[in-house]
């Protein structure tokens, strides 16, 4: 249900651009207004969300410890998975963000012969996830050759390396292909693994379809329907220099591509795609496990009702005396006051 719904929405979005640009001539809307709105939504939404998270305090140090603690000096502690210092915590975080270290631990459990639980090697999700994200990042960076004039040297360099392979006398950007392959894999696994399918919502299929759409239209433009890059660059540089223009000869394929990108970035702040910001703030990962050595402060720590020793002794004084336990008072405060009178 979620799958069909998402597919339908993405198809409708594509159709809307097609009709809008081809039939109604709304190229200014799709080429200028919507991109500006999308970028604004993305930036403002992203910031608001992160601020909202950051405003919520971290009352306790709930690090997930995935290795030996630092205790006695002769016991080797696991500095990455159970960091005791901020610098090692940064190493842990970097490995999470750059290489999905926790996901790398993944295994697949299976009940064999109806009685033996086994835990098997399963790194495909990790691999596909990593390929997908790194490709995505490189593709985004490469795009800056279209946004900036002059093109920064490192963008050109990344493009050169990425386009190292030649197919039919044409440079093929390997990341574009990998991106599409990886996102397709993520989609297929979502549908084929019954458990993952069961937990999937429309909100999980939607970004996958949008990204597939972006990658497909991108690849079509670059290798199959050679579009007029010069006029596209005129448009994008115009956007980025706040002098928007709608040049002649921009293919509708480009408008579809652009509109899907706009959809994706404006969707980010309202969705799970915010994980890119969330991962940096995750309290089980971004704090050292040193709360026995350094006091962690809870800003809203408040006094609570406790049962004091005095109350306890009042209740059990006679029994305690009989058991030979030391007492703080020979009688309760109330009794003492009564005998005085």
């Amino acid at each position: 249900m979620g799958l069909n719904f998402s597919l339908l929405i993405v198809a409708a979005l594509i159709l809307a651009v097609f009709l809008g640009v081809e039939a109604l001539g709304l190229s200014f809307l799709f080429g200028v207004i919507i991109p500006y709105l999308a970028i604004a939504t993305f930036i403002i939404g992203f910031i608001l969300k992160v601020v909202k998270w950051a405003k919520a305090p971290v009352p306790f140090r709930i690090t997930t410890t995935s290795g030996q603690q630092k205790s006695l000096p002769w016991i080797k502690d696991n500095k990455i998975d159970n960091p005791a210092t901020t610098s090692w915590t940064m190493v842990r975080m970097a490995l999470e963000v750059l290489f999905f270290r926790s996901l790398f631990k993944n295994t697949k459990a299976e009940l064999v012969d109806g009685k033996k639980l086994t835990y098997q090697w399963e790194k495909w999700l990790w691999l596909a996830g990593l390929v997908f994200h790194w490709s995505f990042l490189i593709v985004v960076v490469r795009h800056f050759r279209l946004f900036l004039e002059p093109v920064p040297a490192f963008v050109t360099l990344i493009g050169k390396i990425d386009g190292f392979f030649m197919v039919d006398l044409q440079n093929v950007y390997i990341t574009g292909v990998l991106l599409l392959a990886a996102v397709t894999f993520l989609f297929i696994r979502r549908v084929l693994i019954p458990q993952v399918r069961y937990i999937s919502l429309a909100a999980d299929y939607f970004p996958l379809f949008v990204i597939m759409g972006i990658a497909t239209t991108g690849i079509l433009m670059k290798y199959f329907y050679r579009v007029d890059v010069v006029s596209i660059k005129e448009l994008t540089v115009g956007l980025f220099s706040f002098n928007p223009v709608i040049p002649e000869g921009v293919s509708v394929l480009f408008y579809i591509h652009l509109f899907l990108v706009c959809t994706l970035i404006s969707y980010i702040p309202f969705s799970k795609l915010m994980h890119m910001g969330g991962i940096f703030l995750s309290p089980t990962r971004n704090m050292p496990n040193n709360s026995r050595a350094e006091r962690h402060i809870n800003p809203w720590n408040y006094p609570v009702k406790v049962h004091t020793y005095a109350e306890y002794e009042d209740e059990f004084r006679d029994k305690m005396r009989a058991a030979g336990l030391p007492l703080d008072r020979e009688s309760s405060e109330a009794e003492a006051a009564a005998t005085k009178e």
Binding site: F5, A56, P57, V58, P59, T64, T65, S66, G67, Q68, Q69, S71, L72, I75, A84, E96, F100, S102, K105, K108, A109, L111, G114, K116, L117, G129, I193, P194, Q195, V196, I199, S200, L201, A202, D204, F270, K272, M274, H275, I279, S282, P283, T284, R285, A293, R295, H296, V304, K305, V306, H307, Y309, Y312, F316, K319, M320, A323, G324, L325, P326
Partner: protein, 537 residues
């Protein structure tokens, strides 16, 4: 009480999710899987909301009129107080990496026991009332209305999570479903939904100092029974002190070890050790509980119970605190105690008076784990050990969830074990250390009425024990947790009947050569010492 199915029946686990979507599949309160409701009396003792007589089986849970408002307001408040909750609600991508990491899922096949769906139970309500997408797109954004049926689902599944944190090790964002369960239970408590196996120990602990509600004189008697046993076995008479001002150290074990086997044996081992090295320590009847079932109720309740440790340390004027073998107790001490009830300016940096070791890792909480303390003694050759006295035990070690994943206490107990026994084998890597599997009865779920669920949840652990039992002949499962010692014996009895359970310090007690002891013929269990072959002769 529901009849426990046979093992082969229980092993017929169906991992295929049902045809109906999870939001359309109502919860089935099948006997043997859920726990009895908290007694009104205990709720009253603690001043908790809505004390009344009710049962999860009833159609009407006798909720307050405005229950929905209370829950949603409670959720709003907690979203503002816990960044963890905000993030864990917003960032899950439903990749499913956590799904088969939960022992309850592996043992039951119930998709709502996949950590991700357990969290979605709350997340769906969060979306509906607290997110733009959920407000606009409703069901398509995975949002749903909070209804009595949803509340029942929360109750069922938040009391079917042992807060073990195994899922959080594997999640790429560190989403900790235990944290969601903790907060979910906190919300349930706002309208009087809790289980008796948690609330009554909490009430006992609050008033009387320990979970079983043993009064001061009873506690002293119970300790005396332990020292009598020690005298019988070793010929050495221990002299314990209680509530003694001016002692150097306050020693707080979990109270479960005072009353029930095999915990008692482990506590005996600790008492013998502390006697042997001549530590100047006292026990307390007021702070006679290391464990803290408040952790399974709410953050506030955790603090209310935990406060006794520092209050008593201060009253008695000790220098530092030594804590016994207990699992969730150490989650509280390592991650909450100092924040909640510190600072500890009335205590001093713990220094072992025997070895001179300064426990710098505890310089703020000033509380040392007994296995850290003992490992240090062994490493400095301060105690004499005869590991052959444990020769009839072929030992493996179960990491309890909390010391493993909320502390990282992995090597200390292993170091001790390797010094006190000659036969030690690890279970498979995927089932130990930070990847350890729960006993199935943590977080207050160790009751009898949910025995089927316990056996299911304990399946992955038992399966790994079975593996080393068959491969290496392992017959003793050691651990450092009082709940384990209560929950693992029935689990072993059910799945791997030839394996016994012990605390690490029971083996220490067996191996410990004491000054002036008589020739040891019996172990701390009053069983003949030596290998089984010896005994046959």
């Amino acid at each position: 009480m529901a009849k426990l199915p046979k093992t082969d029946e229980l092993l017929r686990i169906n991992f295929q999710p049902p045809k109906t979507g999870w939001q359309e599949t109502p919860v089935d309160f099948k006997p043997g899987t859920w726990l009895y409701a908290g007694k009104a009396e205990s709720l009253e003792t603690l001043g908790l909301a809505n004390p009344r007589q009710w049962s999860p089986e009833d159609e009407d849970w006798k909720l307050p009129e405005n229950w929905k408002e209370i829950i949603l307001e409670g959720l709003r408040e907690r979203l503002g107080k816990f960044r963890s909750l905000q993030l864990f609600m917003d960032t899950c991508v439903r990749c499913g990496a956590c799904a088969d990491k939960c022992h309850f899922y592996l043992g039951s096949g119930d998709p709502k026991n996949m950590p991700v769906l357990r969290a979605e139970l709350l997340r769906s309500v969060y979306r509906k009332d607290f997110t733009t997408a959920g407000k606009i797109f409703g069901k398509f954004a995975g949002a749903r209305e909070l209804t009595p049926a949803v509340l029942k689902e929360w109750f069922y599944y938040f009391f079917q999570c042992t807060e073990c944190r195994r899922c959080s090790v594997f999640c790429p964002y560190g989403i900790d479903t235990a944290e969601i369960t903790m907060i979910g239970r906190e919300l349930l408590n706002l309208v009087g939904l809790n289980i008796d196996w948690v609330v009554t120990p909490v009430a006992n602990c609050y008033k009387k100092g320990n979970h079983l509600g043993i009064q001061p004189h009873g506690l002293v008697d119970s300790f005396e029974m332990l020292t009598d046993d020690i005298a019988d076995i070793t010929g050495v008479q221990l002299d314990l002190s209680f509530n003694r001002k001016g002692a150097e150290v306050l020693f707080i074990p979990p109270s479960g070890d005072v009353f029930a086997d095999p915990g008692t044996h482990s506590l005996m081992g600790q008492l013998m050790l502390l006697h042997e090295i001549g530590l100047d320590y006292t026990l307390s009847t007021y702070a006679s509980e290391g464990g803290n079932f408040g952790l399974f109720t709410s953050h506030e309740m955790m603090k209310r119970l935990n406060s006794k440790m520092y209050a008593e340390a201060k009253r008695l004027g000790v220098k530092w605190i030594l804590g016994g073998e207990c699992g969730h107790m150490w989650r509280v001490i390592n991650q909450y105690m100092d924040t909640m009830n510190g600072p500890t300016d009335f205590l001093e940096l713990p220094v072992s008076p025997i070895t001179g070791t300064r426990f710098e890792n505890t310089k703020s909480t000033k509380m040392v784990h007994i296995t850290e303390f003992t490992a240090d003694l062994i490493q400095n050759n301060k105690i004499k050990l005869d590991p052959s006295r444990n020769d009839k035990h072929i030992v493996t070690y179960h990491d309890s969830c909390n010391p493993a994943r909320a502390m990282g206490l992995l090597e200390e107990p292993r170091y001790i074990l390797k010094n006190v026994c000659n036969n030690f084998y690890e279970m498979p890597d995927e089932t130990i250390r930070e990847k350890t599997f729960c006993c199935g009865g943590g977080a207050g779920l160790g009751a009898d009425e949910n025995m089927e669920m316990r056996m299911r949840g304990g399946l992955p652990r038992a399966n790994a024990v079975k593996y080393v039992h068959e491969k290496h002949g392992v017959n003793m499962l050691s651990c450092v947790c009082a709940i384990d010692r209560a929950v693992l014996p029935p689990l072993m009895h059910y799945w791997v009947p030839d394996v016994n359970v012990c605390g690490v310090h029971e083996l220490v007690g067996n191996a410990l050569v004491m000054k002036g002891e008589k020739k040891r013929e019996e172990s701390l269990r009053f069983e003949p010492i030596g290998t089984e072959e010896d005994n046959d002769v």
